[in-house]
């Protein structure tokens, strides 16, 4: 529904990670710290020992909104947007959407799992209820 991200050196691993069905983010081994969005160094220790690492893809809905406004011609509403807090670290979050479920059925605290939808050369990480 939205525009596709422009891939660059920093973000390419994230936006193509879903090709094998896995969510990945940068992880610093020295700090045991996950960081997102990706950057050139660990924002805790400033070391460059950060590398993309696989996450469980599971998390909890921290915030939810149903967008009901057709901001542009052709935009199908309503749809549900979420901020998901990922299990691996408090405060490690993704703004995302849950296009496969009834918007009215999503609530804060729901347990969710990532799934991917390919758009051009990008794999969008969406979420769905954890079965």
């Amino acid at each position: 529904m939205g525009p596709v991200p422009e891939l660059d050196e920093l973000n390419e691993f994230f936006w193509t990670s879903g090709a094998d069905g896995k969510l990945r983010m940068q992880y610093c081994d020295d700090c045991q710290y996950w960081q997102h969005p990706p950057s050139v160094c660990c924002r805790k220790c400033l070391g460059e020992g950060i590398a993309p690492r696989e996450l469980s893809g599971e998390g909890t809905v921290a915030a939810v909104t149903i967008n009901r406004m057709p901001w542009m011609p052709g935009l199908k509403v309503p749809y549900v947007l979420v901020i998901v807090e990922l299990d691996e670290q408090p405060g490690l979050r993704l703004t995302s959407a849950m296009p496969s479920v009834d918007p009215e059925q999503v609530a804060i605290g729901d347990r969710v799992k990532v799934w991917f939808e390919q758009r051009e050369d990008v794999w969008m990480p969406f979420f769905a209820p954890l079965a």
Binding site: P3, N67, L81, R93, T95, A97, V122
Partner: protein, 396 residues
């Protein structure tokens, strides 16, 4: 030793505002010149006295339509200003126009600085483009917006709504409580002939309004306008020569300690308002209990709740209860808010409009919507999410 803070050397010597409306026949530059002329007249200054200009965000590449239609260059050329110092840039808070002007005046780079903010979002919307909605083109997205737009989080309405949902969940706040921000603004706008929306607004109207992005409805979102607001910041030594009552800038702050993002803050519902509040109060001997009224940012009604907490007018998680019933924030309450109607009802002047209103109230020149009694100290705040700035204004 003199006080080290630059703002203590400065006063707001004049304010001016163009016509504010939904689609005006005048261009952004015309509206800006209108506002400058009014501010000069208000201060008793001449165009030749102006030697500095400060703005936010100034000229923007790929500018969102109507969001920043006038650059410093445009204004300088139009009015043939001779500038010793000028500055604008988007990598700062909205408040940076004021902070930078104070630093320029205190350090002798300039003596009388025009600060301006001009919007033509209403005319742009009429042409079918919304500046508050990003990424409507077909091109790929890079930079910070890539983390929101691809999922359909196009508008700040949705970004704020996500945080509002979290706040309501954590603290049990209700839509009826949030409504008080919008209802109070509208009651004040009814007294202000310059406000954009002046029809009565009831709780029933609010609760039955169209939802934009849950839990925010139409009346929780401010109204795009065409218009320009100007402040003139001058050295306090000029005060005796001014036509208007000078308003002192007791304290001003625009920090960014948290993440530069809406969704990666350590605490989703604190935003940067709290840091701005701490810094604001650290630069003055006044405290929240001394404040006579507050012009808190209401680009979304919900942001006002975070500002009430961030500035210390109530405790963490207490803002919804603070505004419940609306009496406390009404014009005869203990902390009047949005005395001109806020951005919700008076129009999205995007920051400087609150200063204009605060200065008029402190001087006792707000006319039909003047607060009762002598008001000496006012707080102004700007921004939401990763943008936060606050100022404390004082009359002698």
């Amino acid at each position: 030793m003199s006080n080290p803070y630059s703002e203590k050397q400065c006063v707001i010597s004049g304010v001016g505002q163009s016509e504010i409306g939904r689609r005006l026949p005048r261009s952004g530059l015309q509206l800006t010149v209108d506002a400058v002329k009014k501010a000069l007249d208000d201060a008793g200054l001449k165009r030749e006295d102006i030697d500095g200009v400060s703005s936010w965000p100034g000229q923007m590449q790929n500018s969102a339509p109507g969001f920043s239609p006038v650059s410093i260059t445009d204004l300088r050329e139009a009015m043939d200003l001779k500038l010793s110092w000028y500055n604008a840039g988007i990598e700062s808070t909205q408040m940076s126009a004021i902070i930078n002007a104070c630093m320029a005046v205190a350090s002798g780079q300039a003596r009388h600085v025009i600060c301006f903010r001009t919007m033509t979002e209403a005319s742009s919307m009429a042409k079918g483009t919304r500046s508050s909605v990003q990424g409507t083109g077909s091109q790929r997205i890079s930079g910070p917006f890539q983390w929101q737009l691809p999922f359909g989080a196009f508008s700040a309405s949705s970004w704020a709504a996500l945080i509002a949902s979290r706040y309501m969940h954590e603290f049990g706040a209700s839509r009826e409580q949030l409504a008080q921000i919008a209802l109070n603004a509208r009651r004040n706008a009814q007294l202000n002939e310059r406000a954009v929306y002046r029809d009565p607004l009831s709780m029933e109207d609010y609760l039955s309004a169209r939802m934009i992005s849950d839990p925010l409805c139409l009346f929780d979102c401010d109204v795009p306008i065409d218009g320009s607001t100007v402040l003139i910041i001058s050295h306090k030594d000029c005060a005796p020569d001014l036509k208007a009552t000078p308003i002192h800038i007791e304290s001003v702050a625009g920090p960014l300690y948290g993440r530069d993002s809406w969704d990666q803050q350590d605490d989703l519902t604190r935003f940067c308002a709290e840091d701005a509040g701490k810094m604001l109060w650290s630069r003055t001997d006044f405290s929240p209990k001394d404040v006579d009224f507050a012009e808190l940012y209401d680009g979304f009604s919900f942001l006002t709740l975070l500002w009430l907490e961030g500035l210390g007018f109530c405790g963490r998680g207490e803002a919804a209860a603070f505004v419940e019933g609306g009496q406390r924030i009404a014009r005869d309450g203990e902390l009047p808010l949005a005395t001109h109607g806020g951005q919700l009802s008076a129009g999205r002047t995007h920051g400087l409009g609150y200063f204009h209103e605060a200065v008029k109230q402190l001087r006792g020149e707000a006319g039909s919507h003047q607060l009762a009694g002598d008001r000496k100290l006012a707080v102004v705040s700007n921004g939401g999410g990763n943008l936060a700035g606050a100022a404390l204004l004082r009359k002698d």
